[in-house]
């Protein structure tokens, strides 16, 4: 199996937020600025990768009847560890992520990857899958965070980037704005996707126009 492919699919075609629509809560709750989004992204990246590894290691020993509780326990353990470590060494990050750090346990994407991928694959692919999904998640988070932070307060990672006279709409960093921004972003991605698909289709038609005739009449 091609590890690059496994890694890549989490970022684009199976992006956890934009495509799979899983783990949406943090995508809204902790993206009002890039810093928080990045922090959350890293945490999820770590948890999902670690969990994929552990699950792929123990998958043969897990009884299917209690599969879900076992996986959840594993995830909860990893999250608790993360929390303990953050608490001990990065108290700032811990405070910013707040409740959502604890909720990482139930982010569907993590359990989903355990069930769908790590359960059926060995350690190395599982690692890449987890990493890809994690990176996809983090990238999406940062992207949303950047849009909201730039258009709202006009800053990036806390630094003023737009002119000071910029009086951005506060709604960007409020709840309704979060929904609207993500909705419009999804639309934008689809428009881009459709455009690309159309180009590909035109190319394909141009290519097959001649070739397919031959193929068919020999079918």
């Amino acid at each position: 199996m091609n590890y690059w492919e496994i890694f890549k699919k989490g970022i684009f075609e199976m992006n956890p937020i934009f495509r799979l629509a899983l783990s949406l809560c943090p995508a809204l709750a902790v993206t009002s600025n890039v810093f928080n989004a990045l922090g959350m992204g890293f945490v999820v990246m770590f948890v999902i990768t670690a969990n994929n590894i552990v699950v792929s290691l123990v998958r043969d020993y897990v009884n299917p009847k209690v599969r879900v509780p076992v996986f959840i326990t594993i995830i909860a353990t990893i999250v608790t560890l993360t929390q303990l470590i953050l608490e001990g060494y990065f108290p700032e990050v811990n405070k910013e992520l707040g409740l959502y750090l604890e909720l990482v346990v139930v982010f569907a994407i993590i359990l989903a990857r355990a069930e769908v991928f790590a359960m059926k694959n060995t350690v190395v692919p599982s690692f890449f899958d987890g990493l890809g999904m994690g990176v996809g998640f983090a990238v999406a988070m940062v992207f949303i965070g950047a849009v909201r932070e730039l258009l709202g307060p006009g800053t990036f990672l806390g630094y003023q980037v737009l002119p000071a006279s910029y009086d951005g709409p506060l709604i960007m960093i409020l709840a309704p704005g979060a929904f609207l921004v993500i909705g419009l972003m999804i639309g934008m991605f689809n428009v881009i996707g459709e455009h690309q698909a159309k180009q590909a289709e035109l190319k394909r038609r141009a290519a097959t126009a001649a070739g397919l005739v031959v193929q068919r009449s020999e079918a």
Binding site: A21, P69, L84
Partner: protein, 193 residues
């Protein structure tokens, strides 16, 4: 009494679970495609939330706090809830297929979801007493139900609209949720909790 009422209304409208606190969004977006499903989901969430919060409160206050193990709450809550919900699902499926069709099928989805873990954690963080925890949980559940039912009715209506192709599905769902949240801003500042 008034205090509980305020807490309840606060949880339902002012601090609506979905629209202002961003919890339970996966099922909020996932199950709001049809009205009947969203009603089932709303009922399932409200009831599970209430019961599991009560369970969690007991364990938290009688086990974790006395032994100074507050940091274990994630693991403990999650096992507790997941186990309980899965058990409930098996039982309902076995004994009442109609009930199962009505809301049992949604149990699996909520077993591992922000909603059911979030409320016990909030209750713990706020240090609510038992009654308050239960009222807050029930209110949050009702708030969730209100939001998802409204959302589903809007989405069903938009099935018959000319939504641009690129926005169909998730995109328009987010925009709708944004406008719902915008409308709910009207309640903000109403009951300071």
């Amino acid at each position: 009494m008034a205090e509980y009422f305020t807490l309840f209304m606060g949880a339902v409208i002012v601090n609506n679970f979905v629209l202002t606190r961003f919890l339970g969004l996966c099922i909020f977006f996932g199950v709001s495609k049809s009205l009947s499903a969203s009603v089932g989901m709303g009922m399932a969430v409200s009831s599970i939330l209430t019961v599991s919060s009560a369970l969690a409160w007991v364990v938290y206050n009688f086990v974790l706090i006395p032994y100074n193990l507050v940091f274990l709450k994630i693991v403990v809550f999650v096992i507790l809830i997941a186990g309980f919900v899965q058990f409930l699902e098996i039982v309902i499926k076995r004994f009442s297929p109609t009930l199962y069709d009505m809301w049992g099928i949604y149990l699996v989805l909520i077993a591992t979801n922000c909603v059911v873990l979030g409320v016990p954690l909030i209750n713990a963080a706020e240090g609510f007493n038992f009654m308050k925890s239960v009222v807050n949980a029930f209110g949050s559940g009702v708030g969730f139900a209100v939001a998802i039912i409204l959302m589903a009715s809007l989405r069903e209506k938009l099935q018959y609209a000319d939504v641009p192709k690129s926005l169909q599905g998730l995109g328009i769902a987010f925009i709708l949720a944004g406008m719902l949240a915008l409308s709910f801003l009207g309640f903000s500042g109403m009951i300071p909790l």
